[in-house]
């Protein structure tokens, strides 16, 4: 059970595939237009239930409850070793004034 007042994320379908405009590429026409937003849950509810939220601006929005206390998962990514090679290469060119091979 998710308690009233919890900070949550909801999801809703804005347009079903058949409601989408005609001039889209075929791949986009086949899928719905979806929306996500966040707010404070207005009543106790289970995950997956249709709920109402109040956004930080006080706006009411309804949708399916998909996440409680959502957090950001984006990060600085996996190591990309090529970036170190670029660093070495251009530092050698500029500071050591010598040709460096592209691949160390």
């Amino acid at each position: 059970m998710v308690r009233k007042g919890a900070w949550v994320r909801i999801h809703k379908i804005i347009l079903q595939p058949q409601e989408r405009t005609g001039k889209l590429p075929d791949d986009t026409k086949k899928v719905p237009l979806e929306l996500w937003t966040k707010g404070f849950l207005q009543e106790d509810a289970q995950l997956g239930a249709e709920v109402e939220i109040r956004s930080v601006n006080g706006r009411r929005e309804t949708g399916t409850l998909v996440e409680v206390e959502p957090y950001y998962e984006h990060d600085f990514g996996m190591c990309v070793p090529e970036l170190l090679q670029i660093d070495q290469q251009v530092r050698n060119l500029v500071f050591a004034e010598k040709e460096a091979s592209a691949h160390v």
């Binding site: 001039k23 590429p25 601006n57 251009v90």
Partner: protein, 504 residues
Amino acid sequence: MYEESQLLEQQYTESEAAAADSSPQRQKSRSYDSVMAGKSEIMKAAVGIDYSQFESGGMAFAYERMMQEIGYSLEEMRQIQSDAGVGGTPLLELKNLTKLARICAPEGKGARIFIKDEACNPSGSFKARRAAIAVYHAKKLGYRGVIAATSGNYGAAVASQAARAGLECIIVQECYDSHGVGQPEIIEKARKCEALGAEVVQLTVGPELFYEFLLLLEDTGYFNASLYTPFGIAGVETLGYEIAEQFSQKFGCHPDAVVCTNAGGGNLTGTARGLRKGGAVDTQIIGASIDLSGLHMASDEAFNRKSCTTGHTGFGVPYAVDPDHSDVPRSAARPLRYMDRYVTVTQGDVFYMTECLATLEGLEKGPAGNTSLAAAFAIAREMDQEQTIVVQETEYTGAGKHVQPQLSFARGNGIDVRFGNPQEEVSGESVILPEHPSQICVKELDLDRQRRSLIRRNLQKYTISPSEEDLEYLAEETNQSRDWVRQAVEEISAELQVCSCVRS
């Protein structure tokens, strides 16, 4: 090559707008057709501008008068921005990058490269300049909140300025594909908007984002802090003006060239207007976009095959040749009026130069803003060592919005990230990092072709027999002589008549 396929996604707005003009007062309904039919009405209430006062009734409209009467004076804007902590950013000389350019250039070539460190603005990009004016205006008119449809840095800029002004704020983003996978660069921008107190509404791919945007405008009564109003564009004039001013103070002259990353056209338009106001009338204005030709901007599958979400040709070309398909009736961003040259670079070039900026100049910045840097690095090598070239922006960087997560995301999506010849990069399939900086080159986009495309769209939209006033307007729109325009109109009209005969 770009415009025909990539404009498809925007064409619906024109047909809907036409429907709106002829529709009676609509009943309040939330259906797609009903909301789109009420577009003009909703927009007028949300931007507080009666655009009809600048219309001729046909093709021509009074652009310059609109900019003068609706915007603020340069002095007023500088004051508004200064009060909001915006502007006055440093102009830095990139001595090590200049040295690298000279190593890769013929003897005597390699202009001095400068960068305007716009990431120093409160929200981390030049967009704070636009937002400061739009939010000031919204507050003056008594709006309770502001709303902007953007997946770019403008969202954080509006959120930041709204927070300072005590206004509510909603940012609407195109963020996810149909599998719910988001572009890390856009997710970071959402985080920043939320950190600045805004509500962020995130959508999957598709131009019907505009429908949700209209619903939100109607429901909230907020001000539409569009990127394309005169306030939004004029706010960038201070950037061009500062470059002219800082250059004059330091060197007693104006820069030979200024490179602007071109997407929606506002950055280039505002900067060029500001440079002129600052007296830099001979400075060459160069637009630069990342080449993403071949990727459809409204494609769900292509969405996450892009490794840069802005500053690319998918926005740059359609908005240049048809500025009026934005979210206002007449856009104030009209880059073909000001552009002397339009070039593209590759994603690999931009990522490479972003890394160079960090490791050689100690400036860790976001990649999209470095589109113009990659172009400047290539163009500097064509110029004499005594000449100067200015990159007019940097943008903030962070998790997701950084060379490493963007390349890592690309690799995770099966994009071939490797060293090689960047000219062999294929959008959506590969990101090719140059093996050596001397491989970073620009590709010219044929400006005459863009100009003719703009004329063609005007002839198709309004009339194939333009009046003298229309011809003068097209001359201003394309920055060409009346004779050049007359000749182009004759040729394109003839082509259009042949096409229509063939069809009938």
